[in-house]
């Protein structure tokens, strides 16, 4: 187990080092996020709909789109010079390779979310500080499920025609349960209703994470073998 995590971390560290040196994807994802948040402000009638009513949906649509940008990069990176073959020839197990990619994507998406969240609070005047603890928990749970499935889908999507278009077509149906749950819980938090009302959604979110992380680890091998 320790060995598995060590190798997974090595894979993730490689990806993160690459990203840290160029910072292209990260900076573009950030600018994209800020732009989406700013544009959403003009997608409502300010005299009819208050920002808080739309805020949970805006937050999660922004996170979903920003995450999707990061996911395409994970395996797109390995296509150049057939770098994936090198990884597959190394003694790293397929599971470690998958977990490493998931880990790197989690750091990437998490970093974008960490910067986008205060920006969101600023733009839409949502008081996030009183509910920060539960909010971070929900974001973490939804992001894990989203990134686990997204990483697997991107490992397939990069090898298809129209890769950039294929990922959302494959991935968006899979985001219905986690994103719906996250939006509902977030809405409850912002309107300071009791957390116990959303226990069903919370269970759904945890169940999704457990089932899909396990399934993706199991089936990742089938998407990369030659």
């Amino acid at each position: 187990m320790g060995e598995l995590l060590r190798v997974a971390w090595a894979v993730a560290a490689k990806d993160l080092r690459l990203e840290f040196r160029s910072r292209t994807a990260f900076v573009s994802a950030l600018v994209f996020t800020a732009l989406v948040l700013a544009i959403f402000n003009f997608a409502r009638d300010p005299t009819a709909v208050s920002a808080v009513d739309l805020a949970p949906g805006i937050l999660w649509i922004t996170f979903t789109f920003a995450g999707m940008l990061g996911l395409n990069r994970a395996f797109g990176l390995e296509r150049e010079n057939r770098a994936l073959d090198g990884l597959l020839l190394s003694p790293a197990s397929r599971t470690a390779l998958y977990l490493g990619k998931v880990l790197a994507n989690l750091v990437f998406v998490g970093a974008v979310e960490a910067i986008a969240l205060p920006l969101f609070a600023l733009f839409f005047n949502v008081p996030i500080l009183p509910v920060l603890g539960p909010l971070v928990l929900v974001i973490a749970l939804a992001t894990v499920g989203f990134v686990a499935v997204g990483t697997l889908m991107s490992s397939m999507a990069v090898n298809t025609r129209l890769a950039e278009l294929m990922l959302p077509v494959l991935l968006l149906p899979f985001l219905v349960p986690p994103v719906t749950a996250a939006v509902q819980i977030t809405a409850h938090l912002f309107s300071s209703r009791p957390f116990s009302e959303v226990s069903g959604w919370l269970r759904l979110l945890v169940g999704y994470d457990v089932i899909f992380v396990a399934a993706c680890i199991l089936f990742f091998e089938s998407t990369i073998e030659e």
Binding site: V149, L152, M156, N159, T160, R161, L162, M166, V169, L170, L172, P173, F174, V176, P177, T180, A181, Q184, G200, W201, L204, G207, Y208, I211, F212, A215, C216, F219, S222, T223, E225
Partner: protein
Amino acid sequence: MTPTEPAERALRRTVPWIAVALALVAVVYVRALVCTPVEAVQGPAQKIFYIHVPSAWVAFLAFGIVGVTSVVYLFIKDPRLDLFAACAAEVGMVFTTAVLVTGPIWGKPIWGTWWTWDARLTLTLFLWFVIMAYLVLRGAVSEPGQRARYSAVLGILGALLVPFIHVSVYLFRTMHPLPVVLRPGRPTLPGAMLVTLLLGFAVFTFLFVALLRYRYLLARLADVRTQAEAERADA
């Protein structure tokens, strides 16, 4: 005898199946219109139920077949299983579309709206999206082995997804009519309607089997033909 002849003959023998299945669909519908009482509250609009519900059953059956054949494919890697799953998805797509078209036609007079984000509508819509993604993915990968592995993985994950979507849309309130046959206790449907509905289930399942068989044999024929052409080019 050309190499494609046995496959062509099998394909031709399946045509009567489809003809019989379509004739039976017509029989069931005549029964639904003529011999089955008009529903007291919904009136004639309820007649679409005899197409809608059997189509929904076949749509989920087709999706189940895709899921199961995908799991088996990953274990034994038989390309025929992959082909079978693809054909089931394609035929299932037709029935899922039928559900999504007949539903709103009924919904407009009864609910007063073409579409509503009800649990079962949403589930069927996303089932449609997943099958569509499956078919689009198959079209975007050219290497057969890779295409088979990819679509098997998507087929399995899609089957896992359906219960999750069901739960998440169920946590919203549902306004869809509740099940009248597969429910705890006895069916609530009056006898004549129940018989028509059950006939509908049988006939639609038969139509599905006939179409699936035809589609599968057609795909096999295409394979045989490609192979024969490749051999002729080599010679």
